[in-house]
Amino acid sequence: MEGRELIRQIQNMLASSEKVLLVSCGEPEIERLLSERSKRDPQKKVVLLSEHNVNRPGSPNIEWIGLPEDSFLEIQKLYLSYEFSDQFTLLSADGNFGTILNYVKTGLLSAEEAVCALLD
């Protein structure tokens, strides 16, 4: 996908959903919980962007979108250039900064609590 077309898609996602998560954590348990998490407010939609096609059912207001690797990386690089929206979140386990996933690793939060924190 070319630059402006990709940006148009991001804008559409931000306009039509409450949150967009770029899921780059490689944690199957977290991905499963993200899929199963039912939002408290069913009117609010969450889009989960994955680098690969995720064969997950999601729930009525949670949508997985599998992106080609180059598009996924392009969006990630754009987000790592500046914060273009507070609706957009990168969920990464191996960045050079602290992450909520560390709370799960160290037992301060359960995986369910971490997912709730990210989506609520």
């Binding site: 914060e83 602290g98 709370y103």
Partner: protein, 412 residues
């Protein structure tokens, strides 16, 4: 609010007043925080009334500041179109602005100071171009720093706050060991933060301006540099640790230990150790003095009456009272000023015998001082959470007191 942002805010306000931007407008502020209080104070000094402080936190909507009500943001929609303006001094300008626009608010929204250069909620070509240029500047700085310190991990403390640097330095050695990293250079903003780093050891320190720091951190993010680490609990925007606070209260100590560094919660923090004798120690009666610390740049000030009670109490017990001051800060009535360097602070308070301070980063620096220590907590909520400051910042081995309306200093 630090001096640079305060001056920028005042300059912007002065220009707006000169241009008549705020004339005949009902002024609202957004986000109850120290910076917003400073803005309210400045407006009131200029006899410009503030209608309300908008804030999403329902806990804060129960209180007021200097008789300015704190209300839900939707309250502004009751104003007639064209009759109001919102001034924002808080860091979350972009999010607040977006919220107001999405609610249908169409009157002017003014950014009073540039607190957050990472954020611009736009995907326009112009924004992307400017952010790309900013990134290029960061990449140049990153490259220079890497050449200057080959083989060392670059640790970034992205904000000028002593407490955050103190926590970062407390857990850094364990983190470096876990990464099998032999050494690091610590990058900070301002001389005071560099002094904190030096309390902990001999790691080289580089001092940057906020703008330079933001740019180099952006480059470290973009390049996903494995030899860089951003040691902060809520900056920059990619750090999502604060979201956990909507689920449960996690004290700042554990946020750093577990959240920032990923270390086991039992990890024993390293203590600052490189103290130096206070140069003017002869002025301070040993064991019969109290050092008072009423000033903090990021914490709401306590009423003067609170400090008056404390000074009266210590003086009635024969103590000499001193106020820790920097720059143009004034000593409290009935006290003498002292201005130790940070490396002298712990020897000073241990010699004095007692320390009473508003809960600020200085308390973190003095956390292990061997004397009577009291931390005072304004009764405010931590950011947009339901947790109080004392829930987040309470210090072990200290007397921790919340200062509410009608506070009475407990005589020792």
């Amino acid at each position: 609010m630090d001096k640079a942002h305060y001056e920028e805010m005042c300059e912007n306000l002065k220009n707006m007043i000169q241009r008549g931007t705020l004339a005949d407008k009902k002024i609202y502020l957004f986000g109850h925080c120290n910076a917003t209080e400073a803005l309210a104070d400045t407006l009131m000094e200029k006899e410009i009334p503030v209608c309300a402080i908008l804030d999403n936190n329902e806990e804060k909507q129960k209180i007021s500041y200097r008789n300015i009500p704190i209300t839900a943001p939707r309250a502004i929609l009751s104003e007639a179109p064209g009759s109001s303006a919102v001034c924002i001094a808080a860091r979350a300008y972009e999010a607040m602005s977006r919220q107001l626009r999405s609610m249908g608010y169409s009157d002017p929204i003014y950014k009073m100071t540039e607190y957050d250069s990472y954020a611009e909620y736009s995907l326009s070509e112009e924004t992307i171009r400017r952010k790309r240029e900013r990134l290029e500047r960061g990449l140049t700085r990153q490259n220079k720093l890497s050449k200057q310190y080959p083989g060392l991990m670059k640790i970034f403390c992205p904000f000028n706050a002593l407490g955050d640097v103190c926590f970062a330095m407390s857990y850094l050695p364990y983190f470096l060991a876990a990464r099998r990293c032999g050494g690091c250079v610590v990058c900070v903003i301002g001389d005071a933060c560099a002094q904190v780093v030096k309390l902990f050891g001999e790691d080289p320190v580089e001092i940057f301006s906020q703008k330079e720091m933001d740019e180099i951190i952006q480059a470290a993010l973009y390049t996903e540099d494995r030899y860089s680490f951003i040691a902060h609990q809520d900056r920059p925007y990619v750090v999502n640790l604060h979201k956990a606070l909507y689920q449960k209260c996690i004290p700042l100590e554990q946020i750093y230990c577990c959240g920032v560094f990923g270390l086991p919660k039992e990890t024993e923090p390293r203590r600052p150790a490189r103290w130096e004798p206070y140069a003017e120690i002869d002025r301070i009666p040993k064991g019969r003095s109290v050092i008072l610390s009423p000033y903090a740049k990021s914490v709401t000030a306590l009423p003067q009456d609170v400090w008056r009670q404390i000074v009266d109490d210590y003086r009635s017990r024969g103590f000499s009272c001193f106020t820790n001051v920097t720059g143009d800060e004034k000593a409290l009535d009935g006290t003498l000023p002292v201005s130790p360097r940070l490396a002298e602070a712990q020897p000073l308070v241990e010699h004095a015998g007692a320390f009473v301070g508003i809960r600020s980063g200085l308390c973190d620096v003095l956390r292990y001082a061997d004397c009577e220590k009291t931390a005072l907590y304004p009764d405010y909520n931590y950011c947009d959470t339901k947790w109080k400051a004392i829930d987040m910042y309470a210090l072990e081995g200290w007397t921790n007191l919340v200062v509410k309306d009608g506070f009475v200093w407990k005589k020792s």
